[in-house]
């Protein structure tokens, strides 16, 4: 069904239009972005609590696990001490993935997505903790701003030229698969033994996606590679049309194997474990900061 509509690029904003849009959202999110930057600084800063670790000949505390081997080795294996370690410098690679599909434009979520993109990209760049990348997805996947490129207002204007919310499919499966490859590439390029590199992807979308089984599998794969994916559902909250109320009609076998129809809440089958729903850009800093704090703790604990 590629013949249906002309290429989405036809209606992409011109440089002038993109400049106007960017400055509009820039001004609109200015006060919010300062507050958000401070919240993020607290969350993304390396943990200050130092840990005792290592096997040394001298140190502050005995490593109990080393005592028996020490005696058994006739006091030869004498690296039985631990020292206080310096927290490693933590660096981030953060990808913002913006849904460029038509459903975004039709529901009014497109505007909220651009506000969110402006707010988050400005706040992250003010933090100076790492690299930012912006990608768009719909039928295809495209990089609007690559890792390693400095972020500025001018970059913001260029990014905006990539979005028109006219793409006729929402291929989230492709997004995740391509993101993983991009993260691999970025990690390889910046490999540095002294640095603890964290990779985070924020997806900004209305949340309507197909092929959820495959997506679920890819999200697990990303998780195993320590790429954290957070799905921000921008929900225009038109009365009765919020994704929170949306239902899905599912045909399938019931308990006794008879094919029947079931009505389910659409979000019950949502394939991303970490997601949040935002109806207004003003809610975003608070909600996202709180969620990130909780999820980062989970990741640190499990790692």
């Amino acid at each position: 069904s590629t013949h249906l509509e002309p290429s989405y690029k036809v209606s992409n904003p011109s440089a002038e239009e993109a400049r106007l849009l960017w400055s509009h959202y820039d001004i609109q999110t200015r006060d919010l972005s300062f507050a958000f930057t401070e919240q993020l600084r607290l969350i993304l800063a390396p943990t200050l609590a130092t840990k005792m670790r290592g096997d040394f000949r001298t140190g502050k505390r005995l490593n109990i696990k080393r005592i028996i081997p020490y005696i058994a080795s006739q006091y030869k294996r004498d690296k039985i001490w631990m020292r206080r370690s310096i927290p490693s410098k933590r660096n981030y690679q953060i990808m913002l993935a913006v849904d460029d599909s038509k459903s975004m434009g039709e529901s009014g979520s497109g505007q909220l997505a651009l506000e969110t993109l402006t707010l988050v990209s400005k706040s992250l760049s003010m933090l100076e903790v790492g690299e930012i990348c912006v990608v768009g997805f719909g039928n295809d996947f495209h990089v609007a701003h690559d890792f390693g490129k400095p972020f500025s207002s001018e970059a913001g204007v260029q990014i905006f030229q990539h979005f028109s919310f006219q793409q006729t499919k929402t291929n989230v499966r492709k997004l995740i698969a391509e993101s993983i490859l991009l993260f691999h590439e970025a990690r390889r390029r910046t490999f540095n033994a002294g640095i603890d590199l964290w990779q985070l992807e924020l997806i900004i979308s209305d949340g309507i996606c197909e092929d959820r089984e495959t997506i679920r599998r890819l999200v697990r794969q990303a998780q195993e590679e320590r790429i954290m994916i957070v799905f921000v559902i921008v929900d225009a909250l038109v009365k009765g049309e919020s994704i929170l109320d949306m239902r899905e009609a599912v045909y399938g076998p019931d308990a006794i194997g008879e094919i029947g129809l079931k009505m389910k809440r659409y979000l019950d089958e949502f394939p991303f474990p970490y997601y949040l729903v935002v109806g207004n850009v003003r809610e975003l800093p608070g909600v996202l900061a709180q969620a990130l704090r909780q999820w980062f703790t989970e990741v640190v604990d499990s790692g």
Partner: protein, 98 residues
């Protein structure tokens, strides 16, 4: 091939078969045809005895799957599809045939 879905907004112009509350957009597989959609409306109506329905999209009766309809009419699944339902007129020939 992966599941493909679309949001539909159901409505009717007949008060006796209209839904008490606007169900809002409902996500369905595009493989659905008239019969499955009819079951859906009956489920929403909580009908004791299912009534067969016919479906109109942009003024024409749905005679294929939604997917085939979308392709034939150049409609992207990114849109919420307005679907109108009416009571099906059962052809008398069919009734008389048994």
């Amino acid at each position: 091939m992966a599941e493909s879905q679309i949001r539909i907004q159901l409505s009717t112009r007949y008060p006796d078969i209209s839904l008490r509350e606007n169900p809002g957009p409902i996500v369905v597989n595009t493989s659905l045809r008239r019969y499955a959609l009819s079951t859906l409306v009956n489920t929403l109506l909580e009908s004791e005895k299912p009534v067969p329905f016919e479906f109109l999209i942009n003024g024409t009766f749905l005679r294929t799957s939604l997917d085939e309809y979308l392709t034939a009419n150049g409609i992207s699944s990114e849109t919420t599809l307005a679907v109108e339902y009416v009571r099906a007129i059962i052809p008398p020939l069919y009734l008389a045939s048994f």
